[in-house]
Symmetry: none
């Protein structure tokens, strides 16, 4: 048995317990390998109750994806200060992203790994979430280009590709940070910010990005002080 049994609770509460268990199980085992038995057990309820409330394995998984997607997007949005300049907004979003994924590894696994791997309708659900994030980043880049008085601005497809690249880099670093002991969310964010803003070429020439204010001639790239 998974959780301590405390019987007779209102539906809403039980549902959250079940989804917690489901996110954990799906995140660790994968969609197919996770069995409804295990989820019910971990949630401390019987299988029929899971079906009564969440309908089917598919629906349960979809519900998990949606819940975790909402949570992640809200976290990232909450990390972006609207009045900051473009680079600071990006920096805020990245920190929120790395913090959230570090604190919700199973939820992140569900979104990033499982949902995208197990075909429709899950992939579509995860893709929608990712598209929101990419759109957010795309807009950030576009605004930054405008703020930089860059004219003519970058072509749309170029910007889309850059946003894709940035998001992919973030996803990759999230896994790296979680797997590498001692790497904090802040440090991961700093590494990515350097990379994304100054580029390798810039870093080679000592042109790192600093949270203090835009691209600087600082002698060394920003590292998070752990």
């Amino acid at each position: 048995m998974g959780a301590v049994k405390s019987k007779r609770m209102p539906r809403a509460v039980r549902e959250q317990q079940m989804m917690d268990a489901a996110v954990r199980t799906f995140g660790q085992r994968g969609y197919q390998a996770a069995s409804m038995d295990e989820i019910a057990d971990l949630a401390g309820v019987s299988k029929p109750l899971v079906y009564l409330y969440l309908n089917s394995k598919e629906d349960l998984f979809t519900a998990c994806i949606r819940r975790e997607a909402r949570a992640l997007i809200e976290a990232v949005r909450g990390g972006v200060r609207p009045d900051d300049p473009a680079d600071r907004r990006l920096w805020g979003g990245l920190r929120a992203f790395f913090t959230h994924t570090a604190q919700n590894p199973d939820g992140w696994a569900v979104l990033h790994r499982q949902a995208r791997t197990h075909g429709e309708p899950f992939a579509a659900e995860a893709a929608a979430m990712r598209k929101e994030i990419v759109a957010l980043v795309t807009q950030l880049i576009a605004v930054a280009a405008r703020e930089a008085h860059r004219d003519p601005s970058l072509p749309d497809r170029e910007v889309a590709g850059l946003a894709e690249a940035l998001v992919g880099a973030a996803e990759s670093l999230a896994a790296w940070a979680n797997a590498t002991p001692g790497v904090s969310a802040k440090e991961a964010a700093a590494t990515l910010m350097n990379f994304a803003w100054a580029g390798l070429g810039g870093l080679m020439e000592g042109r790192a990005w600093s949270p203090a204010g835009g691209s600087a001639q600082a002698p060394a790239p920003v590292s998070a002080s752990v």
Copy 2:
């Protein structure tokens, strides 16, 4: 039935047929959803023969991962001209990467999506391959830093993070390029090269990377001439 039946062929050939079928099936359906029945059928042989040659579903999947990993790494290695300067070497590797993944979508799906999603021992296998690529990139960056007379060079962990970010960006762009009609491997490579070398900040200031030679003051970022 999948393939035309031509009985009695040497083992090595049959094995490749089976693995072709397996890669295709695993890549499209996923590890668990793929059934040995379907694979055998697609390979045009009976199930017992698959077991005779490949032993088990797990072994078969592992064999697929290894084969595809080898192929990808060799492709990337083959794209890097040892005598080029650092940025050109990176550029060559990226082009090879995008070309290979575009031409082997199922193999790439097996490596990038399925192997990493379905737990041990597959994740380890895929991780080893990825580590090789990251190591390659890491070394590229380190050499570049040295070539740039940058002293003291970037801290190791910083470099590791940058390599992770770069590889993640590449993975993300591979999916984007494959999903976006009209985006060639070359264009994807160019977008990433701009991003990675010049950074967003550099691009804002018009400092794009060009295949012609290092970081330049080119008025517009490189786009692949399709």
Copy 3:
């Protein structure tokens, strides 16, 4: 939800509502396919209340069979005028039978189809009802034979067989009449009466039965004037 909710009603009323819902559900879905959930829902009450009043699915089904059996038998009995001659009594019973089954298709399905198909103890319950009807018919035939001064009368087993045949024919025609658009209960009864009284041979020779009075040399068989 099935019915409009109006809480707190006397037990007897609620019970009838539940049985109405049950007959409908059992009749349409069958005993096993009918779920207590659906019945409760259709009755507009919660499942525990169904159990409180009707005890179990088995008991509920049995109660339905009994209620519908009573109703059918009373209908048939009510259609038989005791002072009529034998053929007229039969005619009256048949008309009542066809009318009742046409008006209670679900109840008839429960009795004729479901109860007999789902083993003990239901089959016994339905058999008892049927036996009552067969007995009624048997007696009618026996009396008719006596009235016809037939001596020695038909052997008992012969009569039993004839009654079985007649009832079976009626059951079959009930389904036919309900399924064939435009066939009224009266017409079904007329067809059967012709068949049962005059026989095919009689009909071939133009010896049809007419409600007017016994076996006649009428040129054409009786058809119900719709």
Copy 4:
């Protein structure tokens, strides 16, 4: 375990064994109450083999219905001598019908009871079979009417109803004969033939049908000499 295990037999044989077991189980328990476990067990094979060969419970049931329907129809057809006069042809069909149903009670239960009770697509399958029989009988009656120089012949719908009634009477008598000890198929056929050909009215007047030749003034109705 049901049957003695004799392993490794050709598919066609196994399939028949399975269908034998299925007919028996479906006939006795009913469609829903029959479990695939029980059927497999009775057939002496494992469940997966049943699924491998017969696909699903639904398909298995349908296959049973079809097989039994074919068998019954062929039996009845085989009992009708084409060169006999109409009444003799009917007599032959009835005898074949009662004989077949008496010898295949489970198959008959599947057709008459289970298939018609468990909704689509089974009911349609059984209905098709029954329609064939009814059509056969309908034609017999129509020809008889023509042979009797009856002009104008009976209206079509009248004939359809008569055929329905006759078939229903036969079905009912089949159950009665099987349930009443000592009633042979021949006797059941004789009882029905009397009823159908002479009618109750005819019987009252001593006008019974005899296999010897048409409607006669025989002093007593035909009884089968067991």
